[in-house]
């Protein structure tokens, strides 16, 4: 089973994190700028380093994955990106490592062309997979 969550991005200000549908504070202690996405089971706060990514240079994605009540911590966290208008993805396959608690770090991403990219975080508990696609326009 797969759950798709598209587009609902909340840009968070310096004062904290407001998640639609709840009063959670997922990743509220991480630096801004930050984006958040959520599904019925998870809230994910994430940011790129640097922000925004520079065309043709590797960047990192730091994620905080917060399971909602009743949801298990994901057994698998992946990330990838596509350039739909150009019909290709990245030339690099990112690696994701656990960084303690609910934190994860993805390395090896690169947007090698300017334009519209869709970056997708994928969480799985081994049975159900939640996907969080987010559009980014890189100049």
């Amino acid at each position: 089973m797969t759950v798709f969550v598209r587009g609902a991005i909340v840009l968070v200000g310096a004062g904290g994190l407001a998640i639609a549908g709840g009063a959670m504070a997922c990743g509220s202690d991480t630096p801004t700028p930050k984006r958040t996405v959520e599904s019925p089971r998870y809230v994910v706060a994430w940011q790129t380093l640097p922000a925004p990514p520079v065309v043709g240079e590797h960047f990192v994605v730091d994620m905080v994955v917060c399971p909602k009540p009743g949801a298990k911590r994901p057994s698998s966290v992946r990330i990838d990106a596509q350039m739909p208008d150009h019909r290709h993805g990245m030339n690099y396959r990112p690696s994701v490592t656990a960084a303690g608690g609910d934190r994860y770090r993805a390395q090896g991403l690169m947007f090698h062309m300017p334009g519209r990219w869709v970056i997708e975080i994928e969480l799985s508990d081994g049975v159900v997979t939640d996907r969080f696609p987010t559009e980014m326009v890189v100049k």
């Binding site: 590797h58 208008d85 062309m113």
Partner: protein
């Protein structure tokens, strides 16, 4: 926090000032420039941002953490000696400079290079190599030193082996002397280590080859600072060509940044056949060679203990779509590096522009760049785009090489 807010406020002020400056620059350009149709050249704010992204130039020098000889003056001098010396070839007649001639911006003017025997690819310039991710038309190498080893060992280029390279370095007094000066020890018994160090000295020299500022750079900087008088010095045809380059031709989608390359690989519709019946797979084979190469940045010959410089090598994907892809070349000094493309099949800059103007979409395989479409340039647009590309050269006909190495080695 206050400091952070202050920085944020200051950043906004700077951003506003830059926007205002660019707006004034646009107005100035509109007033000062006219197109071939008598209409003013008007760069939009987006175009100005794209133009400014192609600088500043030159870049700050960066040392290669995988090469302990990088930036070392003695290693640079040693590398320069090696580069022009024919003793590193099996017949004693071929040097690196045979295919990379300073008088031709370190190319050779041939469609396909000829070392000990004819090759399949065009000799790319080796100017402005520092800081790139991939080297060679297929990116089979992830450092300049690794790339520099390849022609030494290629049977069609210099025809050496690790043992014969090491023997020459140990035997020839001036090489052994310069090796000791560069690496603070005599050439070791390990042939592969000597070979790698020769590659690293060659790399240290090549890192110093940086192209000069160009008329485009002067215009770009003037645009960035809103200097109307300086902007007026840039030819009108080049301005119109620049607008095509960053605009409807979308060349800057791949020719990104100050070096005019994203450092990656694309299929742009050049034929796959190196010769009748012989296919050049390009990047697809390059990635396979990269991963199998003992001299890549993940191997133990890298001097970067953290392997942080190996991020690209560690994460690069190997997919079918890489077939027929070749590296996006820099466009700096492009007018001086004919012929063009990985196989040297396009003789002139006008042929290159014509290729993209009349692009045969049938030649792009199924995974080709979807954004590539024939530009259908009219004669005036064609000339303007060529004028812009010519403005990416410094105006001199040859690369000026500073002679750094002393004729006689007087080291330990």
């Amino acid at each position: 926090m206050t400091f952070a807010r202050s920085l944020t406020h200051r950043g906004r002020v700077i951003a506003f000032a830059r926007t205002l400056r660019h707006t004034l620059a646009i107005v100035a350009l509109a007033a000062a420039s006219t197109s071939s149709y008598g209409q003013p050249v008007q760069f939009t704010p987006d175009e100005v941002a794209r133009i400014v992204s192609h600088g500043p130039w030159p870049p700050k020098p960066v040392r290669d953490p995988s090469n302990r000889a990088s930036g070392n003056a003695d290693a640079i001098a040693f590398g320069e000696r090696l580069f022009f010396d024919t003793r590193l070839s099996s017949n004693g007649l071929v040097s690196c400079a045979r295919c990379h001639q300073p008088g031709k911006f370190f190319t050779d003017g041939h469609a396909r290079s000829i070392g000990l025997a004819p090759g399949d690819r065009n000799a790319p310039t080796i100017v402005d190599l520092s800081g790139r991710r991939w080297y060679g038309w297929d990116g089979a190498h992830d450092s300049i030193w690794s790339q520099s080893i390849r022609p030494l060992l290629d049977a069609r280029e210099m025809g050496m082996t690790p043992a014969t390279v090491a023997a020459v370095i140990r035997r020839e007094h001036d090489f052994a002397c310069r090796y000791r000066m560069a690496f603070r020890k005599p050439p070791p018994e390990n042939d592969q280590q000597v070979l790698v160090d020769v590659g690293k000295a060659l790399a240290a020299f090549q890192e110093t080859l940086v192209s000069e500022r160009t008329p485009f750079d002067a215009f770009r900087d003037a645009l960035d600072r809103g200097d109307q008088a300086a902007m007026a010095n840039y030819p009108e045809a080049a301005k119109r060509g620049l607008r095509i380059f960053v605009g409807r031709a979308n060349c800057s989608a791949c020719h990104v940044g100050p070096a005019f390359t994203n450092g990656e690989f694309h299929d742009v519709g050049i034929g796959f056949f190196a010769s009748p019946g012989k296919v050049d797979p390009g990047r697809h084979a390059g990635i396979a060679r990269l991963k199998a190469n003992p001299y890549n940045l993940l191997g133990h010959f890298s001097d970067d203990p953290s392997r942080s410089s190996a991020t690209s090598t560690r994460h690069v994907t190997h997919e079918h779509r890489n077939f027929g892809e070749f590296r996006v070349p820099s466009l700096r000094n492009v007018a001086g590096t004919a012929p063009y493309m990985h196989d040297g099949s396009l003789k002139s800059l006008r042929d290159v522009v014509r290729h993209y103007s009349e692009l045969n979409e049938e030649r792009l395989h199924v995974h080709g760049e979807r954004i590539l479409k024939p530009l259908h340039l009219d004669n005036a647009e064609f000339a303007d785009l060529v004028a812009f590309l010519e403005s990416l050269g410094s105006g001199v006909s040859a690369f000026r090489l500073a002679q750094r190495s002393r004729p006689v080695c007087d080291g330990p």
